[in-house]
Symmetry: C2
Subunit: 244 residues, 2 copies
Amino acid sequence: MSFKVLSSTVAAAVDKELMSTVGFSIDQLMELAGLSVAQAVYKTYPPSTHNKVLVICGPGNNGGDGLVASRHLKLFGYTPTVYYPKHKSSNVLFNNLLTQLKTFKIDVLQNELSNSELKSLINENDQIIDAIFGFSFHPPLRSPFDTIIEHLKQVETSKPITCVDCPTGWDVDKGPNIADLVDAKYILNPSSLVSLTAPKPGSKFFKGNYHYLGGRFISKEMAQKWDIDIPNYPGVDQVVRLNI
Amino acid sequence: MSFKVLSSTVAAAVDKELMSTVGFSIDQLMELAGLSVAQAVYKTYPPSTHNKVLVICGPGNNGGDGLVASRHLKLFGYTPTVYYPKHKSSNVLFNNLLTQLKTFKIDVLQNELSNSELKSLINENDQIIDAIFGFSFHPPLRSPFDTIIEHLKQVETSKPITCVDCPTGWDVDKGPNIADLVDAKYILNPSSLVSLTAPKPGSKFFKGNYHYLGGRFISKEMAQKWDIDIPNYPGVDQVVRLNI
């Protein structure tokens, strides 16, 4: 299916407009974005077959989406474990999202893991969510996320991996263009991708089976203004599959 | 179906805990509550048959849930009109929710309507949402909401009415106990009710066809602590029907 894309620069401008003239708070947008990630995961890898889910969260808003998704996944019947090695403790929203996870008795690992610990953690989960970096990421990957992606690459053909907005390590606009990057070992090929608001240019290179759009909070008028395609979401769903 | 209820006093304590030790912001809770109301309406009176929906919003959090629901209803394909005669302009969140509705090109009527204007407004819509007062309401009803309920009563057998958390005018704990109230003309009998977090005692007297529970944000541990029944929500739904 062909679809219009939103470059990282335009995506940043849309985000800014949503949180200024449109009047959304980041709490609202992150709640809806995280919920859409959890719904996409449920549709693709349900708790009956993929109960144990490892959610790897980065330090910014992509990680925040992952924290929200983890709470909804728990409510949907999953057993999530969150790995969150670079928590910004000065951010009130992220602190609150963490408090919520603790109340929901979700395991959150905040200390950096050794290679063997990381390997075990990945192996003992049925599926993985990459909520490390989103549309504001620029290569190269830095520690500890480079090592995390290296480990995920080793299981990418055997274990479902869902990436939030953009596979971590890819250039948001150019995709998995390794000429610009350090090494092919950081180029993840996930089985599922949840684009938020609109697909980013890099997602044209996505070869996995499941490509969803989430973040159902754009008005028709705003979509026209920014030249965003909004496909028909089914019913009350917060995600719509793009590649069927 | 029998279900445990939450008195207005306990509901207030649960709300307080959600927004303190559990770490939720009111933006998050209202977003999820409003989304659950919109989902319940979609399941009961879909846009294909009941497209024009009048959402009557009170000055407090119940009204805020209605404002959020209106935005989601628009995204679900409805044509909502909001009647919001007592807006607290000092409240940043409510101001932002209103800004969102304007961006979504949703008509918001903020001036008090005359009786004939109100009658016309009700008549030209296919269904109505009562988001006037919730669990912190105590009778009697004051202007202009007394007149609004009088008008809604006149169409209650001919037009679908969905009440948020508690039918406005009912005593939250005693229900439609008219001995405590001014007049039976303020006792609405809606066709649908969306209880939030847990049903309130008054909802035992609800005789309509559709009783939903929404507000899917309570952990198992918190439910145990407060003796709240959490039925099995189907899949990723934000509402579950109680009276089937």
